[in-house]
Subunit: 227 residues, 2 copies
Amino acid sequence: MSLACETCPVRDSAACAVLSEDERAELAKAGRTRRLKRGELLFAAGDEDTACATLISGALKVTSFAEDGSERILALIHPSGFVGEMFAPFASYDVVALTDSQLCVFAKADMNRALERHPALTRALLRRSQEDLHRAHMLLALGSGMGASDKVGKLLMALAQAASESPCHPRLNFQLPLTRGEMASMLGLTIETVSRALTALERDGLIKREGARGIEIIEPARLELLD
Amino acid sequence: MSLACETCPVRDSAACAVLSEDERAELAKAGRTRRLKRGELLFAAGDEDTACATLISGALKVTSFAEDGSERILALIHPSGFVGEMFAPFASYDVVALTDSQLCVFAKADMNRALERHPALTRALLRRSQEDLHRAHMLLALGSGMGASDKVGKLLMALAQAASESPCHPRLNFQLPLTRGEMASMLGLTIETVSRALTALERDGLIKREGARGIEIIEPARLELLD
DNA sequence: CGTGGGTTTGATGGAGCTCAAGGCACGTGG
DNA sequence: CCACGTGCCTTGAGCTCCATCAAACCCACG
């Protein structure tokens, strides 16, 4: 399926928003939209002919695997986010859809051509890359210095942020895009510990659960925001 | 002190290497070299008028502080590395010299002007930024799924890589740029645990220590490389 | 010689990992 | 419609590893 930038919900927030209409139309010729169902693989670690993509809707996870086969989640990608290692000869990570997703895919060569042609696009990606770096640092900062339920609480706040349309205030009521195992793999904990942490947070009245995935945040302040 | 690019040891590996002689000369007019002694602060979290810099020699650490005041190391910067949040209104991290260092500092405004003028420079920074991201991911992957001495072992391998001139093979014999506390803060451990892990690694014959800072790696294979 | 920063070592307790069992929701086939 | 299987989540019990507290050491430096 070819692109339909006119109706794209992230046309003003994605990297390509810095382009003029004409430039965008030209870039669009090189890209294709793609739909993924939950669990589908977008890029696989080791792929040589890698591509890159802007996420239109849904959510992705970027994962690597330890030698023992256990998965580690390195990053989440939300709509208008960009994913792809533009300069590596092959992909280092798996990228998998967390929910049904829709994205806009470009071959690496095409994107590189576009970067050469449109400096503003390069700068937009640089900005995004630095934001990604900042998020990775936030995740790193979660690694130490506190108990499991603090970590889970902060992760919930981060997810609440991401689920919100408004960039400043979290959404107090949302569905988790992650399984317990995925949360565990972001935080360096086990499934059981995450589960226990959630019940503890609920017991203490900081959150309320609706089924396995629904979360309502009761006391945002005490969950201490993640930046 | 003004710049002396002609004799700069990282003139071929730093971001500015993509510039022509003339372009570099022009950029040089905007920059100044600066020397830091071990422990000196380069940028402080919260600074509004931030700058950015290329490291010429020495080593830097990028740190953030938890609410309880404990430091967390988010990244290390080695010669030819670039540091600075080009797009943030103020700095989020402290940047501190780990050893006596020499760098090449630019005001953010000047650097932004240079980015507009020289697309190739922007692309060089984008590449660097993605590498930084990759390193952050490696550090994240250290967070889970193994014991303390595995973490310390892998950190040693990463430091051995960084200490080496050759990009592919680690240096088996080097001085740690980090104190025990700094290693601990990279790994989410305590000083004591790091110390014990080192003595365990030495007892098992994987490494040998020369004083508090000297490290010789005996069995690189068993320390399992960090990427 | 004393002081202080960094390091090592020991003893102890607790947070979280492991192993194991059970529950709930959902889909599939009889 | 029910029986069954499969994923995912929860809960429990025991044990391991690491954080914590405490003390001593080493060494550079004034």
